[in-house]
């Protein structure tokens, strides 16, 4: 019974998702599923950021950059041709190990490149390295140094991507192939794989959600909340505040990177705008609106807003809408729209006994 109660929200969420798929298929509006799938991959950086903002009390303005690290790792590894260096002993060794893929590119020319699995490893490695490099100095200090450091980092990454022809400059990278996870399961923009990809993306989101909510109910989750509530008392209780904040930041950056990696294989392209500071502000706005420390609130709101944005509902005011959301939330609902505690107390005030 306790088990059922614990997993009820997850089951309900899965049920709603299946219902959406069934309705979309029956009404022949499956194209909605594409944007929902993209929104699901976009909710990875958002959930990661929720952990950093809501539980470790830090702000990262570099999550779009970490997202782009994943996307560009996926792109570079699978679009850089190895044909010119085919005779290199290292390349032939990789070929023998089955780590090379040969295909024809968009223009029908032969292409030899590394398998996306190498891209995945590369993405994870780069993200770990960068997040530790930024996090170690910034998180030793109390206060919002992480926000400053990550903002600088985000701008640097954006400018590098925009200015380097190897990364496709302003055009970004395209013709990125599908990522075959299992013989029958691949992350791709293929129409026939639309429903599978929808479920795959949301399965990843659900797994992440379960991992995070387990974490928050564990010893380290308590430690994080303690750090957020009172850092001095937390360290007096033996919590290594600097180390724990760093680990959360690294986990969170990794989530963003994975989101970028999978989204890029799903859509087949990535551009420098994914790394822009406005994207980072968007993630921060979603987490703030979701109530900072609410995984569910952040997830649901993130899905809805990203879906609307991807459908083009906000038109050319896309970034302005997210900026406005951030301002409105800070002014009128600093505890977020999905603050369950607040809703409960409102209910009590009006209906409960005095």
């Amino acid at each position: 019974m306790a088990f059922l109660k614990k997993f009820f929200p997850f089951l309900l969420f899965a049920l709603v998702l299946s219902a959406i798929q069934v309705i979309a298929t029956c009404t022949e509006t499956e194209y909605y599923l594409t944007q929902l799938t993209m929104a699901a991959w976009y909710s990875l950086p958002v959930l990661g950021l929720c952990l950093v903002m809501g539980y470790a009390g830090q702000i990262s303005l570099g999550h779009a950059a970490f997202f782009a690290v994943g996307g560009y790792a996926a792109g570079v590894v699978t679009t850089t041709s190895l044909i010119p260096v085919q005779t290199n002993s290292l390349v032939s060794l990789l070929g023998k190990a089955g780590l090379l893929v040969s295909r024809t590119n968009l223009y029908g020319l032969p292409l030899l490149h590394l398998t996306p699995w190498i891209g995945l490893l590369f993405a994870i490695g780069t993200s770990l390295l960068l997040s530790i490099l930024i996090g170690v100095p910034a998180l030793k200090l109390k206060g919002h140094y992480l926000a400053m450091a990550t903002m600088g980092f985000g701008i640097i990454i954006y400018r590098i991507l925009l200015g380097t022809s190897f990364f496709g400059a302003a055009d970004g990278l395209s013709d990125i192939p599908a990522f075959r996870i299992l013989p029958v399961l691949s992350v791709s923009s293929d129409f026939s794989a639309r429903v599978t990809n929808y479920y795959l993306a949301f399965a990843c989101v659900l797994i992440l959600l379960i991992l995070f909510s387990n974490l928050l109910h564990s010893r380290m989750g308590r430690a994080l909340k303690a750090i957020h509530n009172n850092e001095e008392a937390a360290s007096a209780s033996g919590i290594n505040t600097a180390r724990d904040k760093l680990i959360v930041f690294v986990i969170s950056a990794l989530c963003a990177t994975l989101g970028g990696f999978f989204l890029t294989h799903y859509t087949g392209s990535i551009g420098p705008s994914e790394a822009s500071i406005m994207k980072s502000v968007r993630y921060v706005a979603i987490v703030a609106a979701g109530g900072m420390a609410s995984l569910w609130g952040t997830l649901i709101l993130g899905l809805i807003l990203n879906f609307l944005s991807l459908r083009g509902v906000f038109g050319s005011y896309d970034d302005a809408v997210f900026g406005a959301i951030l301002v409105m939330i800070m002014l009128f609902a600093p505890e977020g729209l999905f603050n369950i505690g607040k809703l409960k107390s409102l209910f009590r005030k009006t209906h409960g006994p005095a």
Binding site: N214, N230, E232
Partner: protein
């Protein structure tokens, strides 16, 4: 056995020398009080001992380990627990969770085992919860375990802070003005509880203004004035010490 040995501790804030060349030691199993007029440096001394504040120089040996210059969390791991003069709880967490944080150093499970709820992590959590509930029962807070600490009375908040410190199973418990803001009945319960804590072989160091409490329960007293050690000894000796009388009551000639 000497549990705590402090030598030549110094700390200045700008031009103010809040703690000057303070040395003292504390035998395991005793209750010792640090007293002195307002601004004597008692709380500063406490913060230097627990590592919440860094000392300019001086050495600190605790349980045969040199903890000089070590951060607060390592001192907690070595077995120091504390309460704060102005209570420092985690207001957005329940009473039980507040107390469970105190068990942090005695549990192991990290990020990964927390995410995957491995059996070891679950077992550890369960056993810690049971120990926390024993403490909450002892302080009459068992019914409040799911309450947020902001909703508790002042006295109850002090008790939660004490429970949190006790769940660390400390060798040394540092209490910063534990009786401040308590009524007479609560103070009597406090002195009872400090005695009980000592009976569990926990050494206690406290800063306190309530002299009757200090004289009643302490084995030794350290007197500070303007950041300097004025006297140290048994309550009966301190009561008769002319320097201490001068600080508290003024000079005879004045």
């Amino acid at each position: 056995m000497v549990l705590l040995d402090v030598k030549n501790l110094n700390r200045s804030f700008g031009g103010l020398r809040a703690i000057r060349e303070v040395s003292f030691s504390l035998e395991a199993g005793l209750i010792k009080a640090v007293i002195g007029p307002n601004g004597a440096g008692k709380t500063t001394l406490f913060n230097l001992l627990t590592g919440n504040l860094a000392a300019d120089n001086g050495t600190l040996l605790f349980d045969h380990q040199d903890l000089s210059g070590k951060p607060a969390f390592l001192r907690a791991r070595a077995g120091m627990a504390r309460t704060f003069q102005n209570i420092k709880l985690f207001p957005q967490m329940s009473v039980l969770d507040n107390v469970l944080v105190g068990g942090h150093t005695r549990t192991r499970s990290g990020f990964l085992s927390g995410m995957l709820p491995l059996p070891g992590s679950v077992r550890e959590q369960k056993s810690l919860c049971e120990q926390a509930m024993v403490l909450l029962h002892r302080y009459g807070l068992a019914d409040e375990k799911n309450t947020l600490t902001g909703a508790l009375s002042f006295g109850q908040q002090r008790s939660v802070e004490l429970c949190r410190a006790l769940l660390l199973k400390p060798k040394l418990l540092l209490l910063d003005e534990p009786a401040a803001g308590l009524n007479m009945q609560e103070t009597a319960m406090l002195s009872e509880s400090i005695r009980y804590i000592r009976s569990e072989r926990i050494t206690v160091l406290l800063v306190e203004h309530d002299m009757s409490l200090v004289m009643d329960i302490c084995d030794e007293i350290l007197v500070l004035n303007y950041g300097e050690r004025i006297a140290e000894g048994k309550p009966t000796d301190i009561r008769r010490n002319p320097d201490v009388i001068k600080i508290y009551l003024g000079d005879e000639d004045a």
